[in-house]
C-alpha cells in the first residue's frame, strides 16, 4: 500500500505541471489584463499602457511563464498583482473558510443524503420512496446560485433568522459563526444530497437483492442488523467513489456560493481574480484545486482497500 501511495503521489507531479501550463496559456489567450481593471474604465489606452508597463505585464509570454515556473520550483506561487501580497499567503488566509464550508456542506450531505437513500430503498416503490426521490430530483435540478438567493430572501429577509451574507469568524462566537455558514452550506450541499440519495438508493436496492441478504433475513436477523451490518457496508463501495467526487465538487462549487454569500474564501478569491485577470492568483488557485482533486482521488482509492478486503494494490 505504501509503495502504491508513493507511486500515485509521484504521478501527480506531471498532472499538476500540465494543469499549470494549460491554465497559464489559457489566461494569456483570454482578452484583457489586470492593467485595464487597475486603471479603471475612464482610463485612455495610453494610460492603460503605462499601468501595464508598471505592473510588468508588457514582458514576453515566455519570460512570464519562465518566471512563474522558476518560482514554482522553489515553492513560490508568485505575488498577486491586485492583492499586493504573496499568492500563497492569500490562499492560506482563505482556504480555512472554503474547507470549513465544504466540510459543513459535506457533513450535511452525508447526514441527509445517505439516510434518505436507504429509506427510499427499504420502502422502494411506495409513496415514501417516490416522495424522497422527488425531493432528490428537485435538489439535483436546482441551480445552487438561485437556491442561495431564495434562501437569503426566505431565511434572512422574511424570517430574519439568518444573516444575508458575510463571514463571522469562530473567534466572534460559535453560534454566529455557525449561522454565517449554514445557509451557504445548505445551498452548496442540496444538489449533492440529491445525487447521493439517488446513488445510495440504487446501490442499496442492488445489494438488498443479493443471496447473502436473503440468507441473513432467513436466519432471523432483525432488519436493522441486515441493513446496517450486511447491506450498508457492501453498498458503500460505489457510494464512497461518489462521495469523493462530491467533496471535490463541493470545493469547486464554492466559487459561486462564496460570491453569492460574500464569503471571503478561496472560491471567491478565484472568481474575483478571474474577473480581474490576476494571473498569479488564478494559476496558484487552480494548481491548489487540482492538487486537492488528486489528493481526494488517492484517499478514495485507499478507502476502497479498507472497505473491501479483496482490493489490493501491491
Amino acid at each position: 500500500m505504501g509503495r502504491y501511495i508513493i507511486q500515485r503521489v509521484l504521478a501527480a507531479f506531471p498532472v499538476l505541471l500540465i494543469v499549470t501550463l494549460i491554465s497559464f496559456c489559457i489566461m494569456q489567450l483570454v482578452p484583457g489584463d489586470p492593467a485595464t481593471v487597475m486603471a479603471g474604465p475612464q482610463a485612455t489606452a495610453a494610460e492603460i499602457d503605462r499601468v501595464r508597463v508598471q505592473l510588468g505585464l508588457d514582458q514576453p509570454f515566455l519570460t512570464q511563464l519562465g518566471r512563474w515556473l522558476w518560482g514554482l520550483t522553489q515553492g513560490d506561487l508568485g505575488r498577486s498583482i491586485l492583492l499586493g501580497r504573496n499568492v500563497s499567503t492569500a490562499i492560506a488566509e482563505r482556504i480555512p473558510i472554503t474547507l470549513t464550508l465544504a466540510l459543513m456542506s459535506f457533513l450535511l450531505t452525508l447526514a441527509i443524503g445517505i439516510p434518505c437513500g436507504i429509506i427510499a430503498a427499504l420502502r422502494a416503490n411506495t409513496w415514501i420512496d417516490q416522495a424522497v426521490m422527488t425531493v432528490a430530483l428537485i435538489g439535483v435540478s436546482l441551480p445552487n446560485f438561485w437556491l442561495g438567493l431564495m434562501l437569503i430572501i426566505f431565511f434572512s429577509v422574511i424570517l430574519d433568522l439568518m444573516p444575508a451574507g458575510g463571514y463571522v469568524s469562530i473567534a466572534q462566537g460559535v453560534w454566529p459563526w455557525f449561522k454565517s455558514l449554514l445557509l451557504p452550506a445548505l445551498s452548496l450541499g442540496l444538489l449533492q444530497m440529491g445525487l447521493l440519495a439517488r446513488i445510495t438508493r440504487s446501490t442499496m436496492l442492488e445489494v438488498l437483492r443479493q443471496d447473502y441478504i436473503r440468507t441473513a433475513r432467513a436466519k432471523g436477523l432483525p432488519t436493522f442488523k441486515v441493513v446496517g451490518k450486511h447491506a450498508l457496508k457492501n453498498a458503500m463501495i460505489p457510494v464512497i467513489t461518489v462521495i469523493g467526487i462530491i467533496f471535490s465538487l463541493l470545493l469547486t462549487g464554492s466559487v459561486v456560493i462564496e460570491t453569492v454569500y460574500s464569503l471571503p474564501g478561496l472560491g471567491r478569491l478565484l472568481a474575483t481574480s478571474i474577473f480581474s485577470r490576476d494571473y498569479p492568483v488564478i494559476q496558484g488557485g487552480l494548481l491548489l484545486t487540482a492538487a486537492m482533486f488528486v489528493g481526494i482521488n488517492l484517499l478514495v482509492d485507499v478507502l476502497y482497500a479498507f472497505l473491501d478486503p479483496r482490493v489490493r494494490y501491491d
Binding site: V30, P31, G32, D33, P34, T36, V37, M38, A39, G40, P41, Q42, A43, T44, A45, A46, E47, I48, R50, V51, Q54, L55, S80, L82, L83, G84, A90, E93, L149, I152, I153, S156, V157, D160, P163, A164, G165, G166, Y167, T259, V260, Y261, S262, P264, R268, L269, T272, S273, F275, S276, R277
Partner: protein
C-alpha cells in the same frame, strides 16, 4: 510676481459652494452623535488603495474618506479649495501659487507642509493614471513650508479643473511616499478617517482620525471638501457583488448603507420605513462606442441610419426600469458646459427614414456585432432591445456578451470583431467636458478612426481663455460626436443609493461621503 485673483469660474463656484454648504449644514447640531460602526455594502472591491494609480470608482468610494486634495470639487462639481488656504494665478496665466493650510496632520502624526504637496504632485506626474495633463507643467517647487508653486509650459486656463478632477484625484501623501511605485503607496492621508485593514476580496476597515483638522471656512458637507467631522468610530466597507444579498442585508439591518440598489428592488422598498432611498439622477450616460473601421460602419450613412432609427425611450425604459432621463448632452443640465448641440440626431426614432437611408447607403446585410457587458444588467438589457430595433430597421445583428476585462481590451482593438461596444460614462461627464470627450481624442480614440478636427477642437477647449469660449468649443465637439456618429448616446441613468433610517446626515453624491454622518 503680479497676481490677479481667481478666475470668474472659480469665484462663482466658491460662492455657490458657500451657499450649498450653508444649506447642507441644516441638520441641528445637537442631533449629531459620536460612535458606532457603519457597514457599507458596495458592488465591487477596490483593486488598490493607491488613489494615484486608479480611476476605478470602487477605489474612490473607500479612499476618498482617507485622502484629501489640494483643490477638489464642490457639490456642483466646480473646483474648490481643500488643503489649499488660498490660490492665485499670475497675470500671464503661467504660474499658480498655492498657500497651504496650517496645522494639518497626516494619519501617521506628521505635520503636512508644502514639501508633501510637492512630492505628491511629483509622484502623480510619474505614476498617476491620468497624468497626461501634467506634461504641461514646466516646473513645481515649494519655496517655503506653506507655499507650493506650479509653472506651466503654456497658458492652460483649465489647469485648476484638471488639478481638482476626481476621476483620478491628485491626493496628498506624506513626502516619504514619493518614490513608491504605482499601487505601492501606504494608505496615509489627511482625511477624517484613517486606514485600519484591507482584505482585497472582502472588506476595508477605516477608523476615525482623531487628529483631523476640519476646514472652518465651511459649515458642512460640500462636494469632496467642506467642513468634515468624523462622527462614526469605524467604517466597514464590504464587497457584496450579488444585488439580492445587498438588498437583503439592507432590509435586515446587516448593512447601513449601499451605493447601489437595483431599480426593481427600489420600487419594492420605497415604503419600507427602515430604509431611506436616495435616487441620484444622471449618474451616468448609457452609450455605445461606434467602431468606424469595421465594415459596414466605415460608411457614415449606414451609421446614421442606425442613429436616426433607434428609439431611446424604449431602450432606456427597459434597461433601467424607468429610472432614466433623456437629453442629448454629454454634460448634464445645470452644468456650466451643458449644451444640446447635435440634438437633431438624438432619439429621432424615424424607422422609415432609417430604412431608406440604409438602402441608398448600399447596406448588403453584413452582420453588426453588439458587444455588451452582462456584468451591468442595464447595459445588457439595452443591447437586447437595440438588437430588436436594429433588426426592425433592416440590420442583421448579433449580440456578443463579454466580461469587463475582455470588453475593455477588445474595445481598444478595431479589428476584434465588434461594431458597437456598450459603455457607461460615469465620472467622466461629471468631472467636466474633458472627461466626457477624452476617450474620443487622438490615435487611440474608441471610435477607432482619429479625427483631426475633433482633436483640434479638444485642444482649443483646453486653451480657451474664458468659460464662454470653452463652452462654445465644447458645443462644437458634442455636435461633431453626433454628426460623425462616433458614439451612440442612449440616455442618463438614475442610480439609487440607500441607507438605514438611523443613518443621519448622509447626503448622496458621486461617492458615499461618510463624514458628517452619524448613527441614531
Amino acid at each position: 510676481m503680479t497676481v490677479r485673483r481667481l478666475s470668474a469660474c472659480f469665484r462663482t463656484a466658491t460662492a455657490i459652494a458657500a451657499l450649498v454648504a450653508v444649506g447642507l449644514a441644516a441638520e441641528p447640531a445637537f442631533a449629531q452623535k459620536k460612535g458606532g460602526t457603519a457597514v457599507i455594502a458596495q458592488e465591487a472591491g477596490p483593486p488598490t488603495l493607491d488613489m494615484h494609480f486608479s480611476t476605478n470608482i470602487a477605489v474612490r468610494n473607500v479612499v476618498m474618506q482617507v485622502y484629501e486634495q489640494l483643490v477638489t470639487r464642490d457639490e456642483t462639481n466646480a473646483p474648490m479649495m481643500e488643503l489649499a488656504e488660498s490660490f492665485a494665478e499670475s497675470t500671464d496665466g503661467l504660474t499658480y501659487t498655492f498657500k497651504i493650510r496650517k496645522g494639518i496632520k497626516f494619519h501617521n502624526g506628521k505635520a503636512m507642509t508644502s514639501a508633501d504637496v510637492l512630492a505628491s504632485y511629483q509622484r502623480f506626474a510619474r505614476v498617476g493614471v491620468q497624468r497626461g495633463f501634467f506634461e504641461q507643467i514646466a516646473e513645481m517647487s515649494a519655496p517655503d513650508a506653506d507655499t507650493f508653486v506650479i509653472k506651466m509650459r503654456k497658458r492652460m486656463p483649465v489647469a485648476i479643473e484638471e488639478f481638482s478632477q476626481f476621476g483620478n484625484p491628485v491626493v496628498i501623501y506624506p513626502a516619504e511616499q514619493k518614490d513608491r511605485e504605482g499601487g505601492k503607496a501606504d494608505p496615509i492621508g489627511t482625511g477624517p478617517f484613517q486606514y485600519v485593514e484591507w482584505v482585497a476580496d472582502s472588506h476595508v476597515k477605516l477608523k476615525r482620525f482623531d487628529g483631523y483638522v476640519p476646514d472652518t471656512r465651511h459649515k458642512g458637507t460640500n462636494g469632496f471638501g467642506g467642513h468634515k467631522v468624523a462622527w462614526l468610530d469605524e467604517l466597514d466597507f464590504r464587497y457584496v457583488k450579488e444585488p439580492v444579498a445587498r438588498v437583503a442585508g439592507m432590509e435586515t439591518g446587516q448593512f447601513h448603507l449601499t451605493e447601489d440598489i437595483p431599480t426593481k428592488a427600489a420600487k419594492r422598498l420605497k415604503d419600507n420605513k427602515a430604509l431611506t432611498l436616495y435616487p441620484v439622477q444622471r449618474w451616468w450616460i448609457h452609450g455605445a462606442w461606434v467602431n468606424q473601421t469595421n465594415p459596414p460602419f466605415n460608411n457614415r450613412d449606414i451609421r446614421r441610419a442606425m442613429q436616426i432609427g433607434l428609439d431611446m425611450d424604449e431602450i432606456m425604459d427597459v434597461a433601467t426600469d424607468g429610472a432614466f432621463d433623456l437629453q442629448p448632452g454629454f454634460q448634464y443640465p445645470g452644468n456650466p458646459y451643458y449644451t444640446d448641440a447635435g440634438k437633431q440626431y438624438y432619439n429621432v426614432k424615424d424607422v422609415k427614414k432609417a430604412q431608406e437611408l440604409l438602402k441608398t447607403a448600399g447596406y448588403k446585410g453584413e452582420e453588426i456585432v453588439l458587444m455588451t457587458l452582462p456584468a451591468y444588467q442595464s447595459m445588457y438589457d439595452a443591447a437586447v432591445v437595440m438588437v430588436e430595433q436594429m433588426k426592425a430597421i433592416g440590420f442583421k445583428v448579433r449580440l456578443d456578451p463579454v466580461d469587463l476585462p475582455t470588453g475593455a481590451a477588445r474595445q481598444r482593438k478595431p479589428d476584434s470583431g465588434w461594431h458597437l461596444s456598450f459603455t457607461g460614462l460615469g465620472t467622466g461627464p461629471a468631472v467636466g467636458p474633458f472627461g466626457a470627450t477624452v476617450l474620443l481624442v487622438g490615435p487611440n480614440t474608441l471610435s477607432q478612426v482619429q479625427d483631426p478636427t475633433f482633436d483640434k477642437l479638444y485642444e482649443e477647449m483646453q486653451t480657451g481663455a474664458t468659460l464662454d469660449a470653452r463652452k462654445a468649443t465644447f458645443a462644437k465637439l458634442q455636435e461633431r460626436i453626433y454628426e460623425d456618429v462616433k458614439m451612440l448616446k442612449m440616455g442618463d441613468l438614475t442610480k439609487v443609493m440607500a441607507a438605514r433610517s438611523n443613518v443621519k446626515g448622509f447626503i448622496p453624491f458621486r461617492i458615499p461621503r461618510l463624514w458628517n454622518v452619524w448613527l441614531e
